[in-house]
Symmetry: C2
Subunit: 414 residues, 2 copies
C-alpha cells in the first residue's frame, strides 16, 4: 500500500464522461489498496470562459477578484469528481485550496505556496477516503483566495506529495510522457522513459508544455518522484509514461535528452548604453519592479565604449517592457531601444553535455548548414539555447533532432 | 449616511450587462454617502447548469459535494460585481460565505445561519469599500461549505443587515414589490406599499415567490425593515416598492392584504387509523425523521372509532412521504394511504382578519358560488387557507381577489 498523488489536467476532466472515466481509473488504483490524493484542474474551456466574463467587465480585471472568479473552475471539478468516485463505490471528499489550507503569499495570479496544513487531508485519508483537492489555488494569510498561475495544478500536486511524503506524484495529461521534442513538429520524436529533474526543468521552462516549471522545481527540491502519464491510455500499473527523478548511475553518458523550444518570448535590446559598472542593474531593476520576468540576458561590449544589452521576456509582457525601457534608455543616455517579438528560442537539453563541450559547436554547425542565422546564444551546464527568427522554428528543431540522432535511443559520440 | 444592505437576485445579475447596471445603481447610492453591503445570487441559469452537471454524474448528488459545486455560482457573481464596481470608480471587495464567516449548521442544502462574524465586513466598510457578499452559502464549524437552500440569498442579506444593524435591507428582484396576488393570474393585482412581517410570512410561505420565508422570519426577529424593489426600474431614492415592517398605528382595520397560493404541495391521507392518543406523533414522527417538512395538518374523527389523518408536503417529497407512510400505516393497522399531488392551496392573508371571523364564511361562499369544492381548510390568526383541486387555481384566486375588492385600496366591511 502506497500513498500516491495523482493530478488530472483540464482536458482529462473536460466533460462529465471524462470525469467518470477518471473516477474509474482512480477506483482501479484504489482497489489495489493505495491511498490516493487527486488534484484536478478546471474543466477545459472553463478558465477561458471565466476570464472572458471578467474582461468583458474590467480590463485588466482586478487581480484579487480575478482569483475569486477563476478559483471556482477547480471547485466545480472537485465536487463532480468526488460525486463520480462515490458513484463508483469509492468514498471521496473534496477540498478547495482554502479548505486544505494551502497557504500562499499574496501575489494574486501567480502566488507561491508557503505551507500546506496536511491535517485535514490526513484525517480524510485515515478515514479511507480518496481526497480530491482543487489545484491552482490557495489562500493568503488573510484568507484571500489566490491562484498559482498557469499550470499551477501541477505545483499543487507536487506540493501535496511533498507535504504528505507520497511515494510518487503522477501527472495525468493528454500526452503519454516527455518526448525528445514536440511530435507535432518532428514526427520522429521519441518518448523518454526517464529524465532528470534538471533536464525536465530545462525542457519545461523552454516550452515543452508537459509540466509546469515550478512543479518540477518543487519535486526536485523535495525529491518527489514525478511521473507523466496519459489519462486516456490504459496504464493502470502506473509504470508507463516518463519518470522524472534524480540522476542515477548509468545516466552519466554524453546524452542529449531532447530539443525544447519556446515561441512565447520576445527580445528587447537597449543599444548604445554607456558602459560603466552597474548598468545591468540600472536596466533590469525597473523591469523587475514592474514584475516582468526576464529569461535570457546577454551583454555585448561595443567598440565605442558603449554596450548593447539584450534580454528576452514573455510576449505578454512585451509592450510593458518597451514602455519601461524607453524611460530607462532616456535616463541612461542610451542610443535606442530595439524590440522584436518574431523570434523563437530552441534549446538542446541533456545532462550529458556538461562535460562534452563539443556539442555546442556541433549544434551551431547543424544550424549553419540549414542557413539559420543565430541571434542570441545562452548556455548552462545542461542546455544550449539559441534565439533564431521565428520562421526557422520547424526547420531548426528537425535538423537538430535528426542531427543528434534523437529518433533512436543512442548515445552521442564526439 | 446610513448602512444599507442590498440584495440582487439571479435575474438582476443574469448577464455582464445586468451586473454593470447593478454596479451603476450601487454607485449612485454610494455617491449619496451610504455605506453599502451587497448580497448577490448566482447568475440566472447557473445553478440549474451546475445541478445538471451533478445529476448527470450522481443521482441524487452527494449533498456535501453538491454544496461545494453550487456555491461556485455566487462566487462568480461577487467577483464580477466587485470588478464592475471598481470600473465605476467605487472601491469594492468580494467575500464568499466562508470568508465573511457565515457560520451555519451542517445541514447541507438547507443549512441555517448560526452566527456571522462581522469583523471582516466591518473592516472593509471602514476602509470605505462596498462589500460584496455571496448569498446562499456559509460554512459549518468544520469548514465544510454549506448552502442555505432555495432563496437563501435573501436570508444572507437579512442576517447581515441584522448583524451589522443596518438601517434597511433592500431586496432587489424582477418584480417591483409585493402584490395582492400573482399578477400573472389576476391582472388587477395591486402593489402593496406596506405589509407586516406576519402577513409577508404568510404570503411568502404560501407561494408568492417574492421573498424567502426564512429571510422574513429573520427580519421580523431582529426587526430589520425589509424593502422589496425592482432592480430594473429607476428607483434610486430607494423609497418605492413594498416596505415590510412591524404593524403601525392605522393598520388595525379589518384588512385583507392579499391572496397567496402554492402549487408545490401534495396531499397525503392515512385513512382508518385506530383513534387513540399519540397517533399524530406516531404518523408524523417517521415523516420528520425522514427530513420531510409538513405544512397543513388535519385530523378528522370518523364514526367507527378510527380517524383520518391528512397533511400536505412539498411535491418533491411526495414519493418519499408515500414510502414512509405505507410502513407507518402497516405498523398502526390503518386501512390505507391516499395521496394526491394535483392540488393547490389558496390563502387569504391579512392582519385585519384576526378579529373579524366573518371573513372565513365570506371566503367559503365566494368559492362555493364558483362551484369550487374545498378539500382541506386551515386557519391562523392572519390567514385562511383552503386546499382545492389544482384546476381551480386561477378561478379561485380571481374570484377571491375580486370578491374581497383587492383591486382597489379599500377596507373590508362585514
Amino acid at each position: 500500500m502506497a500513498l500516491i498523488v495523482q493530478k488530472y489536467g483540464g482536458t482529462s476532466v473536460g466533460s462529465v464522461e471524462r470525469i467518470e472515466h477518471v473516477a474509474k481509473k482512480i477506483a482501479t488504483f484504489r482497489a489495489r489498496g493505495h491511498q490516493i490524493v487527486v488534484v484536478v484542474s478546471a474543466m477545459s474551456g472553463e478558465t477561458t470562459r471565466l476570464t472572458e466574463l471578467a474582461t468583458a467587465i474590467q480590463t485588466p480585471p482586478d487581480c484579487r477578484e480575478l482569483d475569486v472568479l477563476l478559483s471556482t473552475g477547480e471547485q466545480v471539478t472537485i465536487a463532480l469528481l468526488a460525486m463520480a468516485l462515490q458513484k463508483q463505490g469509492v468514498a471521496a471528499r473534496s477540498f478547495t485550496g482554502a479548505q486544505v489550507r494551502i497557504l500562499t503569499d499574496a501575489t494574486h495570479g501567480k502566488a507561491r505556496i508557503v505551507d500546506i496544513d496536511k491535517q485535514r487531508v490526513s484525517e480524510a485519508l485515515a478515514a479511507n477516503e480518496v481526497v480530491v483537492v482543487a489545484g491552482f489555488q490557495g489562500v493568503d494569510e488573510h484568507g484571500n483566495i489566490t491562484t498559482l498561475g498557469r499550470g499551477g495544478s501541477d505545483t499543487t500536486a507536487v506540493a501535496l506529495a511533498a507535504a504528505l511524503k507520497a511515494e510518487e506524484c503522477q501527472i495525468y495529461t493528454d500526452v503519454d510522457g516527455v518526448y525528445t521534442t514536440d511530435p507535432r513538429i518532428e514526427p520522429n520524436a521519441r518518448r523518454l522513459d526517464r529524465i532528470t529533474f534538471e533536464e525536465m526543468l530545462e525542457m519545461a521552462s523552454l516550452g515543452s508544455k508537459v509540466l509546469q516549471i515550478r512543479a518540477v522545481e518543487f519535486a526536485g527540491k523535495y525529491n518527489v518522484p514525478l511521473r507523466v502519464l496519459s489519462s486516456f491510455e490504459e496504464n493502470v500499473d502506473g509504470q508507463t509514461g516518463t519518470l522524472i527523478s534524480y540522476e542515477e548511475d548509468g545516466m552519466e553518458q554524453a546524452r542529449i535528452s531532447g530539443i525544447a523550444f519556446n515561441k512565447d518570448e520576445a527580445k528587447v535590446t537597449v543599444l548604445g548604453v554607456p558602459d560603466h559598472p552597474g548598468v545591468a542593474h540600472q536596466i533590469l531593476g525597473p523591469v523587475g519592479e514592474a514584475n516582468i520576468e526576464v529569461d535570457m540576458i546577454i551583454q555585448n561590449v561595443g567598440a565605442d565604449g558603449t554596450t548593447d544589452f539584450t534580454f528576452t521576456v514573455h510576449r505578454t509582457d512585451f509592450q510593458r517592457t518597451q514602455v519601461v525601457l524607453e524611460q530607462v534608455a532616456k535616463d541612461l543616455g542610451a542610443r535606442e531601444v530595439n524590440a522584436d517579438d518574431k523570434i523563437v528560442k530552441i534549446s538542446l537539453v541533456g545532462v550529458g553535455m556538461r562535460s562534452h563541450a563539443g556539442i555546442a559547436s556541433q549544434m551551431f554547425e547543424i544550424l549553419a548548414n540549414e542557413g539559420i542565422n543565430i541571434r542570441m546564444i545562452s548556455t548552462s551546464e545542461i542546455k544550449i539555447s539559441v534565439v533564431v527568427d521565428e520562421k526557422y522554428l520547424e526547420l531548426g528543431v528537425r535538423a537538430l533532432h535528426s542531427g543528434f540522432g534523437l529518433e533512436q535511443s543512442i548515445e552521442v559520440s564526439q
